[in-house]
């Protein structure tokens, strides 16, 4: 497989002439893990929201319940009668299947993420496509990319073949900061897991702190998802989707 089109990290330097129909924009591994992660993330999001609805109150420290002060409350009705929400009704309780689905999706996404993370060190994906090049990290390069984003400018032809510096840093942050954090804070809520590895929860300041942090990291991941999908639409939904599904990148512009 020819990877030559991936080499330059600066988008404008991509030699368009090397882009042929035989070249794959995204490797099969990246495409498969991307969509498994997407499905799992959506399952985790829906089931996580259902679990939160059973007790939409958040605390800091070891313990928290309806008799203790909250850090903050979500202004929504709850699915359990014990929670005082100010609403005169109780939502349907969906915790059973939500918890089953949450942990099943967590297992699949963690195993998928491990496969992805280990493989990107060997395939060159990390070095070539994710780590920013030296020229990308200059103030001028940064401000150009940011200015382009702020003007909602559609990316250049060559950017279909390479990530810009903001993309690279964002993906690295999601892969190496947000995903590990959401796994850590999730495990810190498990009474059995923390019996074996107590530091998982004590480092976070307690089981309720872990729950609150798990919520915040999940919100950060949701924000990433929304911006990610928004920018995919801006860049050209069909061509970007085709690239991530079939591996082929469009070399022509398309209208939105």
């Amino acid at each position: 497989m020819s990877d030559s089109a991936f080499l330059p990290s600066s988008a404008s330097a991509v030699p368009v002439a090397t882009i042929t129909s035989r070249t794959s924009r995204h490797s099969a591994l990246v495409r498969v893990t991307h969509w498994i992660t997407t499905l799992c993330f959506l399952a985790l999001l829906v089931s996580g929201a259902e679990i939160v609805v059973s007790h939409p109150r958040f605390y800091w420290g070891e313990t928290g319940n309806v008799l203790t002060p909250t850090l903050f409350k979500l202004p929504i009705p709850a699915s359990r009668r014990l929670v005082p929400t100010g609403y005169g009704y109780v939502l349907p309780d969906q915790n059973g299947w939500s918890r089953y689905l949450h942990f099943q999706a967590a297992w699949i996404v963690v195993l998928t993420g491990l496969l992805y993370t280990i493989s990107i060190f060997f395939t060159g994906h990390l070095r070539k496509n994710l780590l920013p090049g030296n020229s990308d990290l200059s103030l001028r390069a940064f401000s150009t990319v940011i200015a382009n984003h702020l003007r909602f400018q559609r990316p250049s032809e060559a950017e279909a073949w390479s990530y810009n510096v903001l993309q690279r840093l964002t993906y690295l942050f999601v892969i190496f900061v947000l995903f590990p954090l959401v796994i850590w804070t999730g495990l810190a809520m498990s009474p059995a897991f923390v019996s074996a590895v107590p530091a998982t929860v004590t480092l976070l300041g307690g089981q309720q702190s872990a729950r609150t942090l798990h919520f915040f990291v999940s919100v950060a991941l949701l924000l990433f998802l929304l911006v990610h999908v928004g920018l995919v639409c801006l860049a050209g939904f069909r061509s970007r989707m085709r690239a991530m599904i079939t591996g082929r990148a469009g070399t022509h512009r398309e209208g939105i």
């Binding site: 679990i51 939160v52 059973s54 007790h55 109150r57 070891e62 313990t63 928290g64 319940n65 309806v66 008799l67 203790t68 359990r80 009668r81 014990l82 929670v83 915790n95 059973g96 299947w97 918890r99 089953y100 689905l101 942990f103 099943q104 999706a105 967590a106 297992w107 699949i108 495990l187 809520m189 498990s190 009474p191 059995a192 897991f193 923390v194 019996s195 074996a196 590895v197 107590p198 929860v201 089981q207 309720q208 729950r211």
Partner: protein, 252 residues
């Protein structure tokens, strides 16, 4: 067919065969070492089995975190309970003096214990957290007799794999594996925060499993059965929780 695609086909075939064989061997080993939960069937069986197997390997002997007396939640939260049934009210009227705990199944000596008998055994206490699957939690001191002590008294058969435990409230029952049953923090709890265990918190007798979520700590315990299979209990899913859509294993 070109060489390349033939090679690819053979490679893929070999990988698939190895994968299926690996899964099969994994399943056999998991079964052999008791790492498959009773609710392993159905679409969520994969996640459930992975959670139970990995946590069981990781936590066979680990102790739930214990806390300083100053961390005890005041007042302790008494979760909502259904109005007690007539049998409970009768025993309550007698100050729970006749509260029975019967044990049968794979034991040398079937027995029924009174609360006074249970209290005559060496008592232990632990300050541990009770976390509900809903998300709330509290810390309390739990006082009782370790379940393992009572199991020693009745003599559990070596082939026993599970303890099913039943509340006086009908259809409220759970079960645990022997790793939890013999765990030093698994209590038949009759006291809390230095006093009697309040009815709201499961008194007069609650099975306390601090390494699992609150719903495994069944209130108003009157009966235990020692068994090597949960298939004949209820719908065969291990406890009332999976029948209501909740996981049998609640370590997470």
């Amino acid at each position: 067919m070109s060489d390349l695609s033939r090679r690819k086909l053979i490679k893929t075939g070999l990988a698939a065969t190895a994968g299926v064989a690996g899964l099969g061997v994994g399943a056999l080993i998991a079964q052999r070492y008791g790492l498959v939960p009773p609710d392993h069937g159905g679409i969520y069986g994969l996640g459930e089995t992975l959670t139970y197997a990995s946590q069981r390997l990781l936590t066979r002997h680990s102790l739930a975190r214990e806390f300083h007396p100053s961390q005890i939640s005041k007042p302790p939260l008494a979760n909502e309970i259904a109005p007690p049934n007539d049998a409970f009210k009768r025993l309550q009227a007698g100050g729970f003096a006749d509260w029975p705990l019967s044990i049968n199944g794979m034991v040398d000596r079937r027995a029924t214990f009174s609360l006074a008998q249970l209290k005559s055994y060496p008592s232990r206490s632990q300050i541990t957290q009770l976390a509900c699957e809903e998300g709330w939690s509290y810390i309390a001191e739990w006082i009782g007799v370790p379940l393992s002590h009572v199991l020693d008294v009745v003599g559990v058969h070596p082939q026993a794999k599970y303890i099913a435990y039943f509340s006086i409230e009908p259809d409220w029952w759970e079960s645990m594996d022997m790793a939890d049953a013999l765990h030093p923090q698994t209590f038949l709890a009759y006291g809390m925060n230095g006093g009697e265990l309040p009815v709201g918190n499961g008194g007069p007798l609650r099975l306390r499993l601090p390494r699992q979520l609150g719903y495994k700590s069944v209130k108003f315990i009157t009966h235990l059965t020692v068994t090597d299979s949960l298939k004949s209990f209820g719908k065969g899913l291990g406890s009332a929780s999976p029948e209501a859509g909740y996981a049998w294993y609640a370590g997470i």
